[in-house]
């Protein structure tokens, strides 16, 4: 065996127009190790890996694999050089079976029949060697995401990958599924494969990697042995300044019940019951967190309370008064504000300029115009104030919203909803795709709201976030609230509840 590193990148440089995505990157990944690459959104991690996988070509720089220089001009070259990639958004054909997806691009002949037999045999072997079990005849869209991801890994292994790149692999997984994934990655490493893990979650880096490299604004700022570094040091390297990782908050002082949900049942668009007979209260001055794996009814619950989705049965009360079929606009008048889970889908119109989004939904307010006419001056002034208060960058209300980074887009939504000074705030995934610096800011705002005596309902798939912010935690599984815990409940307890195993 040679001592050549699995991957050696020297002087990789890549520009997209004016955006300098990768600046003179050097990186060495040792064979048979798990190497983490960490950085905020937009730091250039994904671009770098896409270059390695032949999705883009670097403007300059050299790639060496096992000591030999390779020109990776397309994914085909990458695959034949032994590189496999598991993308953040799975590259699977959803209405194909597992075996069809695995064979795609490696069919073994012009006719399928022969290839299918050998693919089955190979899958059997991979299953035995690495514990990658999956039913080859299952249709992808009917599999849970954890298994879909396993199919992606199998796809890479089937093509003989020696180097496996995983881009943000745990974003869609339950804690238990993530643990299982890590177990698989360790087996792969122990069998001599090289694993590159891209993530922005510090905890994962500490849990599984051997070495970690930190990227910031297109540059590789440091590489450390995981055993010799700390979460604090990595966070500081990522952001470029000291970051408060723990949310500081005082004791909650819950007051009267403001929002209450009684025996609520909600169906989704397909007519499937997603929220099943759920009841709870939210008091003034407390944050109630709803934990759960995505797709267990949290979204439908939020939408029902926000007046976007009509419940099938049960009621929602504000100050003890049932809201009936009140429209979202009417609910806003009652003092309810909503930071929706998906800012692109519901929170913003990306083609609008920033100031337009900063009043969206409140544009009927006399402050912003009269009758049919909008007072653009007033709106822009108002937007400018919010930009300053929330440090939205770049500070330009006339910029198209799509051109803001994810964190700043989220701040536009947060500013709009919080500055209305609502009494009830519904918060969905407040920090999805938001970098650490902005997370810190948004979390602080949420705690401020609580201390001002507002009633807050928080839905997040990030268990850490739920635990850091909530005063009480409800766990949802398959449409039911399976239990309530206090904020100091252990991660493992909550994780098991989220998987529907314990109550």
């Amino acid at each position: 065996m040679t001592d050549n590193p699995a991957i050696e990148l020297t002087g990789i440089d890549k520009k997209f127009g004016p955006v300098h995505a990768n600046k003179n990157i050097n990186l060495t990944v040792a064979k048979g190790s798990i190497h983490g690459i960490i950085g905020e959104n937009g730091a250039g991690k994904s671009t770098l890996m896409s270059i390695l996988y032949g999705f883009y070509q670097a403007d300059s720089g050299e790639i060496r694999i096992n000591g030999k220089p390779v020109a990776i001009k397309d994914s085909q070259t990458a695959i034949s050089s032994g590189i496999g990639m598991v993308h953040q958004h799975f590259m699977l054909v959803e209405n194909f079976t597992v075996i069809e997806n695995i064979m795609l691009g490696a069919e073994g002949g012009a006719l399928l029949a022969k290839g299918v037999a050998s693919a089955r045999a190979e899958l059997k072997r991979l299953e035995q060697d690495y514990g990658l079990e999956v039913d080859p005849d299952a249709v992808i869209e009917e599999l849970p995401v954890g298994l879909q991801q396993r199919v992606e890994i199998l796809k890479a292994m089937y093509r003989g990958a020696e180097i496996l790149i995983l881009d943000e692999p745990t974003g869609v997984l339950t804690p238990a599924e993530a643990d299982h994934l890590f177990k698989i990655l360790r087996v792969l490493r122990d069998q001599g494969k090289t694993v590159i893990l891209i993530t922005h979650k510090l905890r994962e880096i500490m849990a599984i990697t051997d070495t970690v490299s930190v990227m910031r604004r297109g540059e590789m700022v440091a590489t450390r042995k995981t055993a010799e570094t700390s979460v604090e040091e990595l966070a500081e390297l990522m952001v470029g300044r000291r970051v408060l990782l723990r949310v500081e908050k005082g004791e909650a002082h819950p007051g009267a019940v403001i929002l209450s949900v009684k025996n609520l049942t909600v169906k989704d668009n397909r007519g499937v019951i997603m929220v099943d007979n759920v009841s709870f209260d939210v008091r003034a001055g407390e944050i109630v967190g709803i934990a759960g794996v995505a797709g267990n009814g949290q979204s439908e619950l939020l939408e029902a309370i926000a007046g976007i989705r009509q419940p099938v049965s049960g009621e929602i009360l504000i100050d003890g008064q049932p809201i009936g079929k009140a429209s979202p606009a009417r609910l806003r008048e009652l003092g309810l504000a909503h930071i929706p889970e998906d800012r692109h889908h519901m929170g913003l119109v990306l083609k609008f300029e920033e100031y337009e989004n900063s009043v969206l939904g409140y544009h009927r307010d006399p402050k912003y115009g009269r009758g049919m006419m909008l007072d653009l001056e007033a709106i822009r002034r108002d937007a400018q104030e919010k930009i300053e208060k929330y440090d939205i960058r770049p500070p330009n209300p006339r910029l198209k919203t799509a051109n803001f980074s994810g964190g700043n887009q989220q701040k536009i939504v947060v500013a709009r909803e919080i500055e209305r000074d609502p009494r009830i705030l519904l918060i969905g995934q407040p920090t999805r795709g938001v970098d650490i610096g902005a997370i810190e800011f948004i979390h602080k705002r949420i705690i401020d709201m609580r201390d001002q005596g507002k009633a807050l309902l928080l839905v997040s798939v990030e268990l850490d976030e739920i635990r850091a912010l909530s005063d009480r935690i409800l766990v949802m599984f398959a449409g039911h609230v399976v239990g309530e815990k206090t904020a100091d409940a252990g991660e493992q307890t909550l994780g098991l509840m989220m998987a529907g195993i314990a109550a």
Partner: protein, 323 residues
């Protein structure tokens, strides 16, 4: 005529009217399963009809006509591919443009070359695809209904008719049993998966539209030199759109496509038959009502009777690598 005779005559003409629909709908199937919407089926069919009629007239050879029809139709497919695959243009606009250009150009060229008001000259027998008589057809005609069915529905069509029915299982086999078919279905659902598997999305989609071109070449040729004996202006008469409806109705699957086309062909044949006939209890019904039936049926069926038709997920969306 007793009612069985009527039925057999309607069935015979159902077959004849379904053939261009089957070819065209299969053409659409290849294109759309690869993610390229093809509203230009109509134009390709018309262009192929014109080209085949011209060449068949000049060479007095039906096969040369077929070759010309396929050639021009594939050329138009490549134009559609260049606009919508290479340049990532709007696929509907590109398809509509092809329809317009062909509708005008065939008439202008036809008039300029032959001076018959956009028609091409009448073809001799050798320039057409003639009927093929199956063995014993004449003898069996007199021997009961089955014999009649054999003689008038199964036998007595031209070669392209039989090719159309052969094209159905062949298309199925290509789509579901070959590497090309697997990749073609994949690229219409998630081109990203194809790209990351190291396969060229562009080349794959070009091959799919070329398949569509070949099949449209057959359908146009059938119209001009098998069903008729000359090109007549606008002779495709919306069949390209009906074929698209059949494709949606059949949920983008080859065998259901054939049945959907037969159904539309039957309605067409029925409308022809009802021309000038008395409907019991109502009297004579304007033929337009029967002619409208396929369209009304399409609306009703698409509005809910066939359930949700899921088009290929990446259909109509040009592929760009994500940033």
């Amino acid at each position: 005529m007793d009612s069985i005779d009527i039925l057999i005559s309607i069935l015979g003409s159902t077959i004849r009217l379904s053939i261009p629909l089957i070819f065209t709908a299969l053409a659409g199937l290849f294109s759309e399963r690869s993610g390229i919407f093809d509203i230009g089926l109509e134009g390709k069919m018309l262009a192929a009809a014109f080209a085949s009629a011209c060449i068949a007239y000049l060479t007095n050879n039906a096969w040369a006509g077929l070759g010309a029809g396929i050639l021009i139709s594939v050329a138009l497919s490549l134009v559609h591919g260049f606009a919508s695959i290479t340049n990532r243009g709007n696929q509907i606009v590109s398809g509509v443009a092809i329809n317009f250009i062909v509708a005008g150009l065939t008439i202008v060229l036809g008039q300029a070359w032959f001076g018959q008001g956009g028609r091409t000259p009448q073809l001799m027998a050798a320039g057409r695809f003639g009927e093929i008589k199956f063995p014993y057809a004449e003898e069996l005609r007199g021997s009961g209904y089955l014999g009649k069915f054999y003689a008038d529905v199964i036998s007595g069509h031209n070669i392209l008719t039989y090719l159309a029915f052969a094209a159905v299982p062949i298309s199925w086999w290509i789509l579901y049993r070959t590497r090309f078919g697997l990749r073609l279905r994949a690229v219409g659902e998630n081109p990203g998966a194809v790209d990351t598997a190291g396969i060229s999305v562009t080349w794959l989609r070009y091959r799919a539209v070329i398949c569509a071109g070949i099949l449209c070449g057959f359908s146009g040729t059938y119209l001009a030199i098998a069903q008729s004996a000359a090109f007549i202006k606008d002779m495709s008469a919306g069949k390209g759109y009906i074929a698209l409806a059949a494709l949606i109705f059949a949920k983008w699957k080859p065998v259901p496509v054939m049945f959907a086309c037969l159904l539309f062909g039957f309605l067409d044949a029925f409308a022809n038959f009802m021309q000038g006939k008395q409907v019991p209890g109502i009297g004579e019904v304007p033929v337009q009502i029967f002619q409208a039936l396929p369209y009304i049926l399409t609306c009703i069926l698409l509005a809910g009777f066939i359930g949700v038709a899921h088009p290929p997920k990446a259909g109509g969306v040009p592929y760009t690598k994500e940033r």
